[in-house]
Every structure is written in C-alpha cells, then in structure tokens.
C-alpha cells in the first residue's frame, strides 16, 4: 500500500526529469544555418543503407558549404536514427521537426517507415523526400491522391518490375521464369509482384516462386528446388548482400541460366561476394551506376571514395541527389520556409543528379529512365536504356 505513494513520486520524478530536458532543449536561437534532417537507419537490420545515406548527405552539404552555402547560410545536417523500425521512424521524425526545427527531412529508406511517419511531417508542413522508398503508397494515398509533402528520389516498383519483365521476354527470350523473393522486404515483394503480372500478361509462365529472409546465408536448399523446375531465367529482386550469395551458390549448383534483378543489386560489393565469373549472364535494372561516365557522377564517386574509402552504392547516390534537390529547391524558392521549399521541389524539372535527371510527375515521383546493366567479368556494362 505504502508503495503506491512512492510509485506516484517516481512518476513525478520521471516527468520532472523530462521537463528538465525540455528546459535544456528549449530555446534555440535562429542561427546562420539551414537545418535539414535525416531520419535514417543507423542501427538495426538496414543499418548499412542508412550509413551510406548519411555519408552521402554529409558529403553533399560539405560540398555546398565549401562553395559558400545557400542564401548566405550554411547547410546543417541533423541526423536521427530510426533503428530500422517504423515506430522509431515516427519518433525520430517528431524529434527532428519539433526539437531540431528542420525545414526538410531526407529519409527514411524503408517504405514502411516513411508511410508510418507521414502523419507527423504532413501535420507540421515539412517535406519528406525518401531516397529509396519504392512502395507506391509513399507518395500517393489509398484513393490515388498525391500526398502533398511526400516525395521520393527513386523509381516506383511497378516501373522497374515491368521493365525487367519486358527485357526478360524480348531480349533474353525467356518463357519460364523462377522468382526468388526477399520476404522481409516490401521492396522485393513489390518488384516481384509487378514483374510477375507483366511477364504473365506477355505470355510467359512463372514456374517457381520461392522466398528467403534478409541475413540468410545459405540458399542451396531453395536453389535446388528451383533447379528442379527448369527455368529459363531466375528473377531475384533483392538486395546485394543476399543476391551475391544467391548468384554464387546458384552457379556452384550448375544453374547457368541468366539471372536478373532490380536496383537493390547495385553495389561494388556484389562482384566481391559473388565472384566475377559467377556474375556473367546477370542483369539488373537501375537508375544509377557508379560506372556512369557523366562528369557529375565521376566527381561524386571520386569525392565519396576520398572521404569514406569505399565506392558509393545506390543508397548513397540517391541520398546525395535528395540532398542536392533540397538545396536546389531552397535556392529556387529563395527562402528556407518549409512550405515554399516544398512547392519549389514539386516543380523541379530537368535537375541533373548523379543518378540521372529528375523531373517530378504529379505524384511526386521522379520520371527517370531505367538502365539495364549487365555484368561482364565482374564489371558493369551498360546494356540498354529504357525510357518511361
């Protein structure tokens, strides 16, 4: 019984503690920086994607600040870790907007996290641009209406899946396809779904549909099962860490048919994991290639390597473009007001990014061409460019 009173005191103490923090965190003078937030995955299962994004955004802002900043002020990056969890993403978004008072937010990468935190940033009228959120619902709600403050820097799943389906049928002449899905990723599931719909519509058949989970390392059992179905091609729309092992093990099992995937394949680590010869006869659709010879990209790759000692992957490239898009919008709007930045961003057309040119369509999705890239002896070779 006596414990109850003290229980109350504990709760009071807790709240007091909280208010102390509030006092500390409270009044921040409007400085001479423009704050942009990054709500990204720095711990948890998707930590490597968030780290790439963080590196890239930092690089972007450092470059901009070295040239004098924007509107006479320096760009300041405030990072919040969403621990690869949707609920934490909302928490991080809340903190960035309410505490740090950012004018725009880059991220999260995971579609479910972006969608979860939408209510927060929309209510506060701060735009969010997700570098890799590919689920169509990120920018469009259930009734097809565009969400005003939501943008993305990447494709949407339907486009990529359809592109590869057409490539499979027309170029690879595949009639029977096996699909191997990453069941823990809605990106992978979305791509697979759109691929299958398009492929079947064009007259092909899907002879096997298997799945795996992220962080799996042994795929022999599943590949054995796929092999028994004799596909002409295997579609693996997953992320490079598992795809590398899948391709390697598939070749070791004697599966020599072409394999294909989406932009999740894009990483310099892929040939390291899979081995150069294993990657022959593999293709993936992408909106970015570190091998792309444009001036802008070559500079980006060089600077990224210098700063972080590794080649940028697609997460880095898209985060970089997201950061630069925001900088560009601030310049165009001539203001650091979050609503004006949002309006300027929505009107962006022909912006030159490292991952290609960006023009936003009415759904706040960038209209971009897809590249089909082929691996030849471990090096990426451009195969086809497909326009939307």
């Amino acid at each position: 019984m006596k414990s109850m009173t003290k229980v109350l005191s504990m709760m009071c103490a807790g709240l007091l503690m909280a208010s102390v923090f509030a006092g500390c965190g409270g009044e921040k003078k409007a400085g001479d920086t423009i704050k942009v937030g990054a709500d990204i995955e720095l711990t948890g299962g998707s930590a490597s994607y968030g780290k790439s994004a963080q590196n890239a955004i930092k690089l972007a802002f450092d470059q901009v600040n070295a040239k004098g900043g924007v509107l006479g002020k320096k760009m300041e990056l405030v990072v919040a870790d969403n621990k690869s969890e949707a609920a934490e993403a909302t928490n991080a978004m809340q903190k960035l907007i309410a505490q740090d008072k950012v004018v725009a937010v880059i991220g999260p990468n995971l579609s479910s996290a972006v969608i979860a935190s939408t209510a927060v940033n929309t209510g506060a009228k701060v735009l969010v641009i997700s570098p890799m959120g590919t689920n169509p619902n990120v920018t469009v709600d259930k009734d097809g209406k565009t969400k005003d403050f939501m943008f993305r820097a990447c494709f949407i799943d339907p486009f990529q899946g359809t592109v590869m389906a057409a490539f499979a049928k027309d170029t690879l002449k595949a009639k029977k396809v096996a699909i191997l899905i990453d069941n823990s990723s809605d990106y992978s599931k979305g791509l697979a779904q759109f691929f299958e719909t398009a492929f079947v519509k064009n007259g092909g058949t899907v002879v096997a549909k298997e799945s795996y989970l992220q962080k799996d390392t042994d795929f022999k059992a599943t590949l054995t099962k796929i092999k028994a179905n004799n596909p002409d091609m295997i579609y693996v729309p997953g992320y490079y860490q598992e795809v590398g092992m899948i391709v390697k093990q598939a070749r070791e099992m004697g599966l020599t048919v072409p394999m294909a995937g989406g932009d999740g394949w894009d990483s310099a680590k892929l040939p390291e994991i899979a081995g150069k010869s294993a990657l022959n006869k593999t293709f993936f659709s992408s909106l970015y290639s570190a091998e792309d010879k444009s001036e802008l990209n070559k500079n980006f790759v060089a600077e990224y390597k210098k700063a972080y000692n590794e080649t940028p992957d697609v997460f880095a490239a898209l985060a970089y473009d997201s950061a630069m898009l925001i900088v560009n919008s601030i310049k165009t709007a001539n203001s650091a007001d979050s609503v004006k930045i949002k309006d300027a961003l929505a009107k962006t057309a022909g912006f030159n990014g490292v991952a290609g040119s960006v023009t936003f369509d009415p759904q706040h999705n960038p209209v971009k061409s897809a590249f089909i890239i082929e691996y030849k002896d471990g090096a990426q070779a451009f195969n086809t460019k497909i326009n939307p």
Binding site: A18, A116, D186
Partner: protein
C-alpha cells in the same frame, strides 16, 4: 482495513492531480508533441516492465520473449480497428485477451521447464511469433499493418497504466500472488506445501502476457503502424533490462527502470551507434556489482523516512 482503503483513495487522488497537471500542459502546448511522444512511450514501457516483472520478478520465471506478446496485442488490436472498423475500446479488450490466451497456451506446456531452458524457449517463441507475422499477408507481412489511426492519447495511456499497476499490486498481495512469491523462493518447497505450481505459474504468465498485449494496442495506435521489426528479441531485451535494472521483484524498480531507460534512450539518440554499447556495458557492470538491481525486491515506502529507520513499526516487505 479502513486505513488501506483511505491510502488507496489518497493515491488515486494524487494520480488524478498529476494527470490534470500534465494534461493541461499538453493542452496548452507547453509540452510539445515530441515530449508527448516520449511520455506516452514511457507509460507503455512502464506497462511492459511491470507486466514482465510479474512473470520474472514475482514468480521467478525467466521469460525473455515478451516482445512476442506485445506484437500479438498490437496486431490483433490493429485488426479490430483497421480491418474490422470497430471502436478503440474493443481493440484494447481484444488485444489484451488475445495475448493472454497466447500466454496461456504457451505457458501451459513450457512452464514445466526451468531457468535457462525456459529462457531459451521463450526467446524462441518470441521469434516464432515474429516470423509467423512476417509471413502472414493479411496483416501486411514484411510491410507491416499501416494506416492505424492514432487513438492513444495521454489520458488513455495514463489511466490504463495506473489501472494495470493497481491490478498487479493487488495480485501480488493476494493469495495467488503469495503462491507466486513462494514459487520464486523455492519451487520444490512450494510444491511440498501443496501449491499447484503449474497453475500459478501459468496464471502469472497469462496475466503478464495479457497486459503486454494491452501495451501493444496502445503502441500500435500511437505510432500509426504495426511492423514486425518493432518486435524483435532486441525489444524483449530492452524490457528485460528495464526490469532487471530496477530490481527483479520490485514494482517501484520496474517503473523506475522503465522511466530511466526510456529517458537514457532518448538522450542517447544523439549517438545512435553508442547507445547499444553503453546499454550493454551498463548491464554487465550492473550485474557484476549489484545483481539485484536498483531496488532489489524492496518497494520504496514512506516508512523509510520515519525516525528510527525502516525497521521500526511494521515490517516492510523485503528479501
């Protein structure tokens, strides 16, 4: 008897005052949305640690799969509001009951195990639950259940927390509660005394699981989404740390642990990579130097401040 009733009413009154203060502050926006989020998170964590304390602290069963019950509550509650369009109150009830049912079904066979094995079994079960959810398309699978309306408010969270604390406190002081404490102290002796250990272990487990489910419903309806990645072993570990930090077997300890760790987590948000390292180091050092946690199994009481120390007058509950 009268003094007890008076005490309870006084406590209730104090709660009401506290509630009124915070609610007004929220209303006039003195406490902004960021702090509201953290306060509600603290309350949810309090429910979780208090319910885990019932299982681990009072009954001495080592359960480290609590996140599984949290998940079940979150998802079933969300199904009620999102898929079936029924009111929030019903979601709370359904979430609690489903988790409790699962706790009962799981508890019955596995509570035969002791110590270490029970720990691994519950860990495994937590993971099985999560993997199953990951593979069920109806609740969104790997994308999670989205579009959950925000029904949880400070008022809901606060009063449910107070309610649960009251229920557990009363459980502890009742006959079944004393059976649980006996089981914790020495299971074989309790068995010899005629206590049906399985029945009480399962009872504690079911109640603990049920309340974890309630916390799950509150959680899902505040963060707009229920996603499998929020219910991993890490989450179970967080809750376990709160209970152990505060003191296994102490309600005050569980609450303190929850408040402290949520606050530390918020502060460490600036240094995400260091958070887990600091957490684990703290835990190791704490376990080596003070394995009973901050409060041991004692509760904080006003008697501490009485002249002559805590041993004068009535004996306080202590180990």
């Amino acid at each position: 008897m009268n003094s007890i009733k008076k005490h309870d009413l006084a406590t209730l009154g104090a709660c009401a005052v506290l509630f009124a203060i915070v609610q007004t502050l929220l209303f006039v926006d003195f406490i902004g949305p960021f702090w509201e989020l953290n306060i509600i998170l603290i309350l949810i964590n309090v429910i979780l640690s208090v319910s885990l304390n019932l299982i681990n602290g009072y009954t001495g069963q080592f359960s480290i799969g609590h996140a599984g019950f949290l998940a079940v509550g979150a998802y079933t509650g969300a199904i009620v509001t999102v898929k079936l369009g029924l009111p929030f109150e019903l979601a709370l009830v359904v979430g609690t009951l489903c988790s409790a049912l699962l706790g009962f079904l799981i508890g019955l066979p596995t509570l035969r195990l002791n110590g270490d094995y029970l720990a691994i079994a519950t860990l495994g079960l937590g993971e099985i639950i999560r993997i199953c959810i990951l593979n069920i398309e109806y609740v969104g699978g790997a994308s999670g259940l989205m579009g959950i309306p925000r029904f949880t408010t400070f008022a809901w969270a606060f009063w449910i927390t107070v309610f649960i604390i009251f229920v557990i406190k009363n459980f502890k002081n009742s006959a079944p509660g004393r059976c649980c404490l006996a089981i914790r102290e020495n299971e074989i002796a309790a068995e010899t005394m005629g206590i049906d250990t399985t029945k009480y272990k399962v009872m504690a487990f079911t109640i603990g699981a049920g309340f974890a489910g309630t916390a799950g419903v509150l959680f899902a309806h505040y963060f707009y989404i229920a996603h499998p990645a929020s219910f991993t072993f890490m989450r179970s570990f967080d809750i376990l740390t709160m209970v152990v930090l505060g003191g296994l077997g102490s309600m005050t300890g569980a609450i303190t642990g929850a408040v402290l760790l949520t606050a530390i987590s918020a502060v460490l948000a600036e240094y995400p990579e260091w958070r887990m390292v600091i957490y684990s180091l703290t835990l190791i050092i704490l376990m080596i130097n003070r394995p009973q946690g901050l409060f041991g199994s004692k509760e904080l009481s006003l008697k501490m401040f009485r002249l002559g120390g805590s041993n004068s007058g009535r004996a306080t509950e202590s180990k």
